[in-house]
Amino acid sequence: MSQRPEGIPGSSLKGPFPVGAYADKLRAYLRERARVQLFGEVFNLRIHKVSVFFELRDGDGALPCRMWRDDFDRLGVTLEDGASVVVAGGPDFYPGSRTSSPHFSFAVTGLRLAGEGDLLAQLDLLRKKLDAEGLFAPQKALPRPALPRTIGVVTGEGGKARDDVLAGLRRRGWAGRLVWAFAPVQDRRAAPAITRALQDLAACGEVDVIVVARGGGSLADLLCFCDETLCRTVALLPVPVIASVGHHTDRTILDDVAAVSCSTPTHAAETAVPFHCAQAREALARFARRLDQHGRRAVLDRARVLARLSRAPAQHVARHRSALHQSLRELRAAGRRGVASREALAATHAVVLARKGAAASAEARRAATLERLRLALDAHDPERTLERGFALVESRDGGVVTSAAAAREAGAVRLRFSDAAVDATISQEARHA
C-alpha cells in the first residue's frame, strides 16, 4: 500500500483513509442495517449462472436487486419484467477489487409474486385515456410525403440508432437534408428533452417528417416514451412522427400516438422515404419517354391520316374505274359466251331441220310413187272404163260376156254402166248374124 497522502488543506473531515478499507467498512455497515420487505415491479430481469439481477421499481424510484440463483430456483416462480413482487432482504455492497467494479445492491433472500404490475397498469390506464381522447388518430391522418426533402431525427447522440437511420436512408438512395436533434433517450431527463426537440423540429417549418429512434432496451428504459406530455405533444404535432423505440413485446405509448410505429430505426428511415429514389428516377425517365412518344405520334399519326385522306378521292375514282373496267370485261366475256352458245344451238337446230327436210322429200317421193301407182291402178279400174262410156256385159249368172258369140248364146244379158246396170236381150237377128 502506498504511503498515506496529506489531506485537503483546510478540510475538517477525517482521513484520508484507504478506499478499500472504507469500502469494506461500508459493506459491514450496510449489512448491519435492518432486514426489510419491499414491494415494487420487476424490470430488466437478468438470470445469470450464479445470480439473478433485476430492478425493483415503482413510480418514485428503484433499487438494483440481486438474488442467489440457488435461492431463486428454489422458489419455483416464473419471473418476468413488469411482475409485481414483494422481496425480503437488506442492502449490501460489493467493494470491488483491483480489477472489478464495486456495486450496490439489495440482497434478496425471499421473494413472492404480488399480482399485476402497478406501473404497467398505470401505463395501460394512460394508453386508454389518450385513446379515448382520440389522440391516437391525428398523426395517422397527416399526409406523409413520399419524397421528403428534409427529415428530422430525434435520437441519442452516441447510439447505434443513428447509424441505423443513415443505413436505412442510404438503402432508399435518399440524400436530402437530415436534421439531427440529439437528446437523452432513457433517463428522467429524456422525455422533456425529446418533447422540446420535437417541438423545435416542427417549428422550423422545413421538416417534412420526424423519426424518433432508439436502439432498444428494457421496458424500464423505454418509460420516457410513455410520458404523457411527450405523447400529447406528438399527437398534436403538425409534422408526421415515425416512432422506432419499442419492441414487439414492449409497446410504448409513443408507438400508439405516432403516425407509424416501426420495429427498428432502419425500418423507420425506410418508412420515412417510401420510394426508392433510384427506382423513382428510372420510372420518371420511362414516363418522360412515353410522353415524348405520344407527342411525336400525336402529330405524325394525324399527318398520316391527313395524307391518306388527301389521296382518298383519287383512289376512289381509280377504284371505280377499275371496277367499271372489270364489269366491261365481264360483259364482253358474257357476250362472247352468249354468241357461242347460240351458235351451237343454231347448229343443232340446223341439223334437226336438215334431218326434218330430208324426211319430207322422201315422203314426197313416196306420195308421187303412190300417185303414179294409183293412176296406174285407176287406168285398170273397170269402173273408170265404164265412166268413159264403156259397158260391161254380164251374163245372168254374173259371168262376164266377152264376145258376141257368148252374148248370143246367153240371150239375156245385163249391161253394167258406170251408174247402174240394165238388162238386155240379144235379138234373133243378132243371134243369127
Partner: protein
Amino acid sequence: MSDQQAIHTYETATARIEEIIRRLDSGEAGLRETLDLLREGRGLVEYCAAELEAVGQGLDELRLDELVARLEAGGR
C-alpha cells in the same frame, strides 16, 4: 414554389402522369386534348425531376441548433 408544386406532391404528380399516359394510350383523346395532356404531363415530369434532384445532391447533415441558427440568419 410554383403553382404546380402548391397543388401537387410527388406521389400525386406521378399518379397524374400515369393517368395521363393511360388516357393517351387509350387513343381516345382528340388532338387538342392530347396536346393539353402532353403539356401537363411534361410539366409534372419536370416537377418530379426537381423533387428527385433535391434529394439526390448528397446528404446534407446538420444539427437542429445549426438549422435554427441558419433560419434565424435568413439563410438556407
